[in-house]
Each structure stands twice: as C-alpha cells, then as structure tokens.
Amino acid sequence: MDDLTPAELPSHHEPGALTMSTRTAVILTIFTVAFTALMAVTYQMTKTTIAASAESEKMKLIGEVLPATVYDNELLKDWIELPATAEIGNDIPTRVYRARKNGSAAALVIEAAATDGYSGHIGLILAVRASGELIAVRVTGHRETPGLGDYIDPKKDKNKAKPWISQFNDLGFAQINPAEWKVIKDGGRFEQRAGATISARAVTNAVGRALRFANAARERLYTIPAQAKF
C-alpha cells in the first residue's frame, strides 16, 4: 500500500485560519449541494415507477389472501383509513380495503399485527368475508427466529402442502368458539409446532382479535365513504 507522501498533503503556505476555514466550508457546501441535487433528481425520476411497483406489490399481497373471483370493484381505490388501533396491534394508521361484488359487501382486507411474538411485531394481512369468516391470513413481516418460529410465513414453512397458516382458512366464530380461538397448548383449537409455540400463539391470538374487530365494526367499515377516516 502506498503511504501518504508529503506531496499529497496540503501545500503549506499558511493562508490564515479564517481564509482556510471559509475555503473548506465553501467546498463542503458545494459538495453537499451537488450530491443532494443528484439524489433529488434521481428521486424525481424514479418516483412514479417506484409508486407503481409498490402498488402492484400491494395488489399481489392482497391477491394472496383475497381471490380475484370474490370481488369486481376497483379495490385499490375503495379503501378507508384506520387510525392506529392498539386493539389489533397497529401503532400507525393502516388502510382497510373493501371488496364488493355487484355493489354489495363481499370482504374486507385488514392489516393487523401481533405484538407479543418472540422478536418484535409480526405484521399480518387478513381477508374477512362479509359473512364473518376469514378467507385467508398471511404474514407480511416478522423477525421470528429463522428455522424455528418462521414457519408462520408459508414461504419458510417446510410443510408446503399444508402450511401452518392455512389452518385459519374459511374459519370464523361460527365454526370455532371465540373462547377456543387459541393454540392447542393453551386449550384451544389451533396447532402449534414443537419448540416454537410463542410465534404461533402470537399469530393465533392476533388473528382472533382482528377477526373480532372486523365483525364488531363491520357495518361502519363497509358504509363510510371511500378514502375517509374510520
């Protein structure tokens, strides 16, 4: 490695401290402005493309819990804003999408979170039929232990034929008594995997809470105007 040779050090004709610091301040400002401009230009150029792909990703995620046959309205326009609701684990405002078929209520897509997982929040997305049962649930983000608690995400679940999270499909409180909406280990009806009950318990309880919320607030969730606050 080349060492720093004296020639590369600043030439010392001692311009005086004030001139010196003004000079470096000006140069640093120029660099800051130039690179901030570079970032601003890139941001402007990429903004619409990024927003479009974020939207298509959202659609893909919704598509995992809500089959396209269930609704015929423009789902991404028919949403309402749900303020931070501790009851279902959301600490920031989220959107509830409302699926309708032939103008009548079909299903709600709700984001919720389990706050008592093994490691931080477990984000969930649920589709709930107007008749009160779940269609499906997916995990949108989690930090559960890889290889242990991460089976809650079907992409990481070793059982590909019947992933753990699929046991919630088509169930509501008509099928399962609310008091039994727990993992088997807690005296409920839902399976957990050996060695990682905490993740399963957190998701199961959060799904139950979100379902209860969706059923209790159903009337208002469907009827308030689109893009309004709940």
Binding site: L4, L9, F31, F35, M39, T46, T145, G147, L148
Partner: protein, 226 residues
Amino acid sequence: MTYRAIIHNGLWKQNSGLVQLLGMCPLLAMSNSFVNAAGLGLATVFVMALSNWAVSVLRSLIPYEIRIPVFILVIAALVTVVDLAMNAWLHDLYNVLGIFIPLIVTNCIVLARVEAYAAKNPPIASALDGAMMGLGLTLVLVVLGGIREFIGTGALFGGIEMIIPGATAVQILPADYPGFLTVILPPGAFFVLGCLIAVRNWLDARAARRALAGTQPPAPLQIATA
C-alpha cells in the same frame, strides 16, 4: 501497484473479511444462509467499485482536512441513488438485493478503501480495488453463509426461489435433522468466522514454510529421489 497485485490483495492478502476484519456488522448479521450472503456480497461489490471510482475521479477537488465528511457524503449519496434506481428500473433484482443496499452504508470497509486507496490512486485501479475487496468479502460471506446454513438447517440454498424462480433449496441431511439453532444465530457467525480465519492463517503459514524450504539447497529432495 499492478492490477494483478490489486486482485491478490483484495481476494487474499488483505481480505476484508478474514484479515482486515472490517465490515463485521453486516457480515455477521446476514451470513445465516447462502442466498443472503451472496445477495449482500454482490451488492457490496457494486457499491464499493462505484464509490471507489467516484472518489478517485473527484480526489483532486477534495481538501485533505474535510475528506472524511466528503467521502461519507459521496458514499451515502451513491448508495441512495443506486437504491432508488434499482427499485425503479431493476425491480426484480431489487426485491432480492434491496434490503441489503442500505446495510452497505453501515459497512466501514467501503469508507476504509476509499480513504486508503481511492483517495490517492487513478479511477480504474480504484474501481478494481473496490470490486476485488468486495469480491473477497463476498467469498468469505458465501462460505460462512453456506457452512452456517448447512450446520444449522441441514439444507443449502434456502430462499433461492427469490433469485431463480422455480428452484428449491437442497436438503442435504435427512429431513428429520433437528437443526442447530446456535449456528444460525449471531454467536454461530463468530464461531464459524473464527474457524475460517484459523484456516486462512494456517494456509499462509504453510505457504511461508514451503517458500522458506524452497530457498535452501534441495537436500531433502535428493534423499527422497535417491
């Protein structure tokens, strides 16, 4: 410094993962599987080549006294630009590497190479130095990730479907292998990395012994052939 020397330096002699031991934060966190490790490594190669090249081009304009803030500014701005551009125009790749790109800013090896090399060398050599340092780190990451994934889960290439659609992980040990959680968690990274460093040092020591033996009259060799 010849290009050959730059390559040798980056991949072996001053390997950032095994010798300089820089950039441990993303290295230890992301090396829990082969695919994660390869993803972070490739993103690092790209960012290091780019930031080394950019600083080298600008080096005569950067006053010595404020070089560190300017370097950080250049690196952070470039990483942001790469992050946005990839998100917009290479979205499939971004879905795989996207989470790693902001992590690279936390990697001090980027700043270290800019300061130690790019600030006083021409652009092409600097870009090569950045790419080779990144590649050296990638090799360590991939070996570390592969070993940890294999011991920890008994499989390899978990998550490969993000890169090659349709491909699946290879289960090497029987499916009822219970797994070895410690190796997947951060302490496992320290253990495995320690072993890799020991192997590298052993190889270097052996090479040095052989070089030393080669300079002496080849007496033992004559006995052997006699």
